[in-house]
Amino acid sequence: MIGEVEHLINGLRKHDPRAIGRAISIVEDGGESAEILLSSLDESLIYQTLVLGITGPPGAGKSTLTSRIISHLRKQDIRLGVIAIDPSSPISGGAILGDRIRMMRHALDQDVVVRSMAARGRLGGLCSAAGGVVRVMANGGCSTIIIETVGVGQSEMDIVRLADITAMVLAPGLGDDIQAMKAGLLEVADLLVVNKADRPGAEMLAMDMEAMIRNRKSARETPVCRTVATEGTGVSDLVTTIGSIDQQHRASGEHHHRRKKSFQLEVIDRALEIIRPELLSTLKDLDGKHELDPGRTARRLVEMLFLK
């Protein structure tokens, strides 16, 4: 097993697509091999990368926009990775991963490493898996890594916390401004993108968002960019905006602060995964002996586990 990991790490250094693909699978499946692999990676490479989160409702144009951003960054000769996360079926556990279709124009570009990932219905867990993939891609020479995910569920929002910068993509016709006010989606975004800006209602949406940003108490500035991803309009401005936010964050220490927070989040996520099986088996031992409410049972469970 250690021999295989060494072989893969060598492959990562040489940017070998097969090795990167294999390494990501190992990390995604978790377990002992994943731990050995992850602990052999170069942390400094991981620190230098820019991790960009792209989120938003289904149909907003995230994948198409991501493809345009890739084209733009490739002109600057940046080698990059894309992690495209799609939901898993709660019934069969299977998934259709279709984000790649919008990015096929980069299929033969060896410097664009695209990986589709199914959310796999892990409670938490998704965060540690995606975090692992970021680490592998960084060691495979990707200096920018885009994580694309539907911004609806809690675990998807956790993914966003892995990112250094998060762009929220919206489009007209997907619901009114009340939808955007819900669920704290806007609070996590460093910038908003109103995509399909050539459609009716787009300017209204952009102005609503600008008004909402002005009205809130936070001192943080949240730029609103307008794009037409299918045509590439506005993408250059968007990339420039992302670049300047990144510079700002690195200068102010925000970058470091976020990395620290995402590290903590990933550790907690992994820790929970480690103890989950034990929690389950201890709970089975408790079964029948206690007729407590769930809250008290949980406390009792934790006490039993840690006092053992």
Binding site: P17, D29, S89, S92, G93, I96, L108, V114, R115
Partner: protein, 142 residues
């Protein structure tokens, strides 16, 4: 969940060439999903090289190719050749679609492990994917 979900198999479903009839490919993709597979779907009008490159990046355990317009004799083997170029010829390729019986020997010869024509029971197709994935992972974990 059932025992079969213990290992999530990743497969790719793609359509090489200019054939835009994706009904079959989408049907198989959905059936695989409903059977617990993670299906990377690459859409219509892809070159064999694009499909092979995607399969390598996604580290899939099997590839399913669909053709309904007669290009299979050239295009299916071209995907196998492209995989060789990427040193990924160990990824098994399964074919399906409107394919005359007389073409089957040549496709098998070219390295397509199974070919399914209209009327094949879905169970048989799913079993073939599962078996292909199992043997791929068995070889990989040697």
């Amino acid at each position: 969940m059932t025992e079969k979900s213990s290992k999530r198999y990743r497969v790719l479903v793609g359509k090489p060439g200019l054939d835009g009839h994706d009904r079959g490919a989408k049907f198989i993709a959905r059936a695989l999903r409903d059977d617990g597979f993670e299906v990377v779907y690459t859409g219509i009008r892809r070159t064999p090289e694009e499909i092979a490159a995607a399969a390598v990046q996604e580290d899939v355990a099997a590839i399913g190719l669909s053709s309904l317009s007669g290009g299979h004799v050239r295009l299916f083997p071209a995907v196998v050749e492209a995989l060789k170029k990427f040193h990924a010829e160990d990824i098994p390729v399964i074919g399906g679609g409107v394919i005359p019986d007389e073409d089957l020997p040549a496709l098998k010869e070219a390295g397509i492990i199974e070919i399914f024509t209209p009327g094949t029971p879905l169970k048989k197709i799913l079993a073939a994917f599962r078996q292909a994935c199992e043997s791929y992972h068995h070889k990989a974990s040697r």
